[in-house]
């Protein structure tokens, strides 16, 4: 029973974090859940955090969605954006999703977030499996978010 509750909470956490960040800072909203792995080429980014617990948040965003979100965030046309600008915006998206998830995970906790890292279109695999992952259908592709937590020693 507790496991099932935990799963349901993670789903809710992801949905609230993604909805809030996209609607407030990117002027768009997720269209609904997407099938894992759908969407083709993607831009990956991750943010590691230290605290109790430690871990990282990784995201994978379809290239079309990345450009659309970057344009919304910066208030510019997609055509005028450089790949560097798009990458920086994807990093900021990862940063804000990480902060939002952590404040829901442990609102009384204290975390130190590392600088977001862009992982390109072929994110290196992690040894461990995420504790939760969820994919969202966006206007121009898919956003996949995964939360990894280090197990206590």
């Amino acid at each position: 029973m507790p496991e099932r509750n935990a799963e349901r909470n993670y789903d809710q956490m992801f949905a609230e974090a993604v909805g809030s960040v996209l609607e407030t800072m990117f002027f768009t909203a997720p269209l609904g859940p997407a099938e894992d792995g759908s969407g083709g080429a993607c831009m990956g980014a991750r943010v590691a955090f230290r605290g109790i617990p430690s871990g990282q948040v990784r995201l994978c965003l379809s290239e079309g969605s990345a450009q659309l979100l970057a344009a919304g965030f910066l208030g510019e046309d997609e055509e005028s954006l450089s790949p560097e600008q798009t990458g920086l915006v994807v990093c900021e998206l990862a940063n804000m999703l990480c902060g939002s998830l952590l404040s829901q995970l442990e609102s009384q906790g204290h975390f130190d977030l590392a600088a977001p890292q862009l992982e390109g279109d072929a994110p290196p695999p992690l040894e461990q499996a995420p504790v939760a992952t969820q994919s969202f259908e966006l206007e121009n592709g898919v956003l996949q978010v995964a939360l990894y937590l280090e197990s206590a020693a």
Binding site: T24, E92, N95, M96, G99, S100, S103, D112
Partner: protein, 128 residues
């Protein structure tokens, strides 16, 4: 009187976003300066006076906590109000920074209205 503001964030796209958000608040803003970390911010403050500092926490070289500590240790600079603009909304962090000397706290993601309300509260400006 127009407000001169210093935005401190290591992400140029976030500085650009905050600058745009400020322009949407309806606040009377004069010059808007930018710095990529706390050290850059302190350097910038030797050249011009600002009425408000908006700073991130996690930055290379000198983070937001260190910046607030340095400002508080300076007889002149401690009078500049600081609002933290961060993804970190954990209660402990907010309390720690407010105790250190931050006057306000805005959590990313935020709406321009939220930023305006916090600026008005911190500066004691009545909303028009």
């Amino acid at each position: 009187m127009a407000l001169n503001i210093l935005i401190v964030d290591d992400s140029p796209v976030m500085r650009s976003f905050i600058r745009k958000a400020i322009s949407l608040t309806g606040l009377d803003v004069g010059d808007c300066y930018e710095a990529g970390n706390g050290e850059d911010a302190l350097r910038s403050l030797t050249g011009q006076w600002v009425d408000l500092i908006l700073t991130d926490i996690n930055m290379p070289e000198m983070n937001g906590e260190e910046l607030i500590g340095r400002l508080e240790a300076d007889d002149l600079l401690r009078s500049i109000p600081v609002i933290v603009v961060s993804t970190d909304a954990t209660q402990g962090r907010v309390e720690r920074l407010m105790t250190m000397g931050a006057r306000g706290y805005v959590t990313k993601p935020f709406l321009p209205e939220t930023l305006r309300d916090e600026v008005e509260k911190v500066l004691g400006i009545a909303h028009a």
